[in-house]
Amino acid sequence: MTADTDYVLKKLPNGLTIIASPRPGSHKVSLGIWVGCGSRHEDERVNGISHFIEHMLFKGTKNYSRAEILGNTRGKGGHINAATSLAHTYYYATVFPQDFAKAFDIISDMVMFPAFDAKELETERKVVLEEIRRSEDKQDRILSRQLMQAAYPGQPFSRRVLGDVGVIETVTRDDMFAYHGKHYTAGNMVVAVVGDVTPEEVEALVSARMGGMPDVPATDFQPAVYAGGDARLSRKQSQLAIDFCFPGPLKDDDDLPAAVVLSHILGGGMTSRLFENVREKHGLVYGIHASCWATEDTGLFSIEAATGPGNAEKMMPIICRELLRATRDITAEEVAETIASVKMGLLESLEKASGRCDAIGRQALRHGIPKSHDEILAKYGKVTPEDVKRVAKKIFSGKPTLAALGPLEGLPSYDDILEMMQGREPAPKPKLPAPQPRPFLPDHLL
């Protein structure tokens, strides 16, 4: 540990990363194993297998039954769970210090020696299919899938993390062993531990248990290629939900901090411009948010909102005007507020052990070395209003993706939205009943 970091990072010869952040006196330990595989690493034939494997690891391993996995964690008052995303699978637990060694033994057994029991596999298939059905009742899940399909058509990002129904119905035990063998390798994993345990204890335990894993390089994936476009889906419901996106900076891009500041100014809280205009001034939405999503090969700047039927006609021009205004007008005060908020977020995340464990593990997997808070703040501290305007100009000149779900009436066409993003009001639409035919006049006389 150095003065400005709260953790010790160690890489084993086989490529496994161990990261430990001691918190003496905290009476508990959070531990997590990050694996660098998610739905983007799947080919279409096995779409959903990363997530399905995540489920299966709880069903039993070489050394532990399903009941023992839960009994030694939850049964002792602890917590164990997992999550799968586009690019990662994450297994995590929080336990009392006296239960840490056992909990680590279990989680490491899960990632190294899954049983993929054939009978359990059949039951779990049904559960995953239920999870897919459940996601189809969730508006935000359908909308984000629509968005990803338009932004990255035909690519892994356009597919569901939960997987394709046909794949889930048919994927085999052998598929699982093959995929697991390829991705659950030492160089593709990070073990993170935060809590009442010393880094020396952690290192000793982890190297004894996982130091012998074979040294296999992590698998590459196809870089994503942004396309963009329109994806609107009419559905009978109370609200029209929209996700309006532009290609944004990548995770290592120097412009990312300015883009994050921009997202906060536009849609990051109760003082954000979109919140103030769309909700406070016009009462058109309950919530409206802007955010930045950045990976090593692509990024999105996105605005999400939901509004009542017919309101989109009024809402979209307001949103577009605000996006364009940000390319011309950003105050030093707004930038300073955002930095204060970033700082508050960092302080809060330090207070919670499980949150800290999650953050340092994910950063170690993505960046190699998690950034210290001072480093992060220094990067944001350098952002000027000029930077934010320049980055806004760059982002909002990109080709947008518009995903919309719900009652579509009033939602401007994609072309009209392109016009709005050029700062032009789209041509007024003919109102029903159709206007009386006018004698033809040349444009310049109208």
Binding site: R74, Q239, A340
Partner: protein, 423 residues
């Protein structure tokens, strides 16, 4: 374990101040918990408690709506609020140096909100959007439908947000009347935790809340009558969302801790009976859990499940059989594990300033005192098999409440389900 530095004092007007000092953190949470919520609404103003909570952010005599949010966000803080059936909370998270600012804003929005007509008109439409969003979220709306069916025709059974038509009718006068009547100092708690100093908070609060006159007791809401019943709605959904429930326990009920142990072991997580039987063994659902909601004079206990229409005919009988069996076959090790889970969750919640602040605010409203962890632990430790068996029998003696939405053709009738719940 419990080395907490809790202090309680009372302002001249009767409002109580409670702080929980955590000198090792850099931030603080501070908020006001008001002992009034949707249950305190008159019949014709459904949704007013929640609309009032929204309108508190819309401007005071000296701050515009924009000033309120800007002043707190300029220092990196957050300000938020929520409304439930029996309470309304307004709270802020800030870095330790900005506690006085947070307190100043909280007192300002609680005492000096102007409820300007044009702001009210806009905020009504915002709440209408919120109502629409809830209705589009099946696993939200199902709980409103459940509550309505458990307590039909009663204020406690109405949705906290109100309905589109009730909210459209609410006026500025309604807001003022509700505030005058229910935002009284004797039922308001100022709670703060984190890197805070009690004496300076008390002194500042004495000044800021001085204008709130010591108040008469606000009337208690009408006592609820749990009725039970059946409500089904056909909706175009992938899953059937169903809640099956019973009359539960109040906060002051001797079975309060027994029910929290039971709900944990029966449907509280991955190791619970419902999860094991319905999901792990049979693969019928992704989500299934039980819950217990308490009020000061009553409560409900229920089970939520979401599954494919083809599975519903199988899910409910398993749930019913498990309930009936639990009246006689709870094992000691399940109780021990549930207890350990509840205790661990309590201890872990102590690391966050906001959950400490919230717990103390609620405990002061409900019990009039902070409830020591040691007391909760000893009450949990006293729960045994026979207490749980008696509790389950008690739950099952009430008329079941069933709420279901989706493609519900495969769902049994209320009568059939009642039959399955008879041992």
């Amino acid at each position: 374990m419990e080395n907490r530095q809790i202090r309680i004092t009372t302002l001249a007007n009767g409002m109580r101040v409670i702080t929980d000092r955590m000198p090792w953190v850099e931030t603080a949470s501070i908020g006001v918990w008001v002992g009034a919520g949707a249950r305190n609404e008159e019949k014709n103003v459904s949704g007013i408690a929640h609309l009032l909570e929204h309108m508190a952010f819309k401007g005071t005599a000296k701050r515009s709506a924009r000033d309120i949010s800007h002043e707190i966000e300029a220092v990196g803080g957050h300000l938020n609020a929520y409304t439930s059936r029996e309470s309304t909370a307004y709270y802020a998270r800030v870095m330790k140096d900005h506690v006085p600012l947070a307190l100043d804003i909280l007192s300002d929005i609680l005492l000096h909100s102007t409820f300007a007509e044009e702001e009210l008109a806009k905020e009504r439409t915002v709440v209408l959007q919120e109502i629409g969003l809830t209705d589009d979220t099946p696993d939200d709306i199902i709980f409103d439908l459940f509550q309505e069916t458990a307590f039909p025709g009663q204020i406690i059974g109405r949705p906290v947000l109100g309905t589109a038509s009730s909210v459209s009718r609410l006026s500025r006068d309604d807001l003022i009347a509700f505030t005058r009547r229910h935002y009284r100092p004797h039922c308001m708690i100022l709670s703060a935790s984190g890197n805070v100093d009690h004496d300076s908070i008390h002194a500042l609060a004495e000044k800021l809340f001085a204008e709130l006159p010591a108040g008469e007791t606000s009337e208690l809401p009408a006592p609820p009558r749990y009725t039970g019943g059946d409500l089904r709605q056909v909706r175009d959904l992938e899953q059937v969302h169903v809640v099956l429930g019973f009359e539960g326990v109040s906060f002051h009920d001797p079975d309060y801790y027994a029910l929290s142990v039971f709900s944990t072991l029966f449907g509280g997580g991955m190791s619970s009976r419902l999860f094991q039987e319905v999901r792990e063994k049979r693969g019928l659902v992704y989500s299934i859990h039980s819950f217990s909601a308490s009020f000061h004079d009553d409560g409900v206990f229920g089970i939520y499940a979401g599954c494919a229409p083809a599975h519903i005919a199988e899910v409910l009988p398993v749930v019913c059989a498990e309930l009936v069996a639990a009246a006689g076959n709870v094992r000691d090790e399940e109780i021990a594990s549930a207890r350990a889970q509840i205790k661990a969750a309590l201890m872990m919640s102590l690391e966050s300033t906001s959950s400490r602040c919230e717990q103390l605010g609620q405990q002061m409203l409900i019990f009039g005192r902070p409830v020591p962890l040691a007391e909760i632990v000893s009450r949990l430790d006293a729960v045994d098999k026979s207490a749980l068996h008696a509790l389950v029998a008690r739950l099952l003696s009430s008329k079941p409440t069933l709420a279901a939405i989706g493609d519900i053709g495969g769902l049994e009738t209320h009568g059939q389900i009642c039959g399955k719940l008879k041992a």
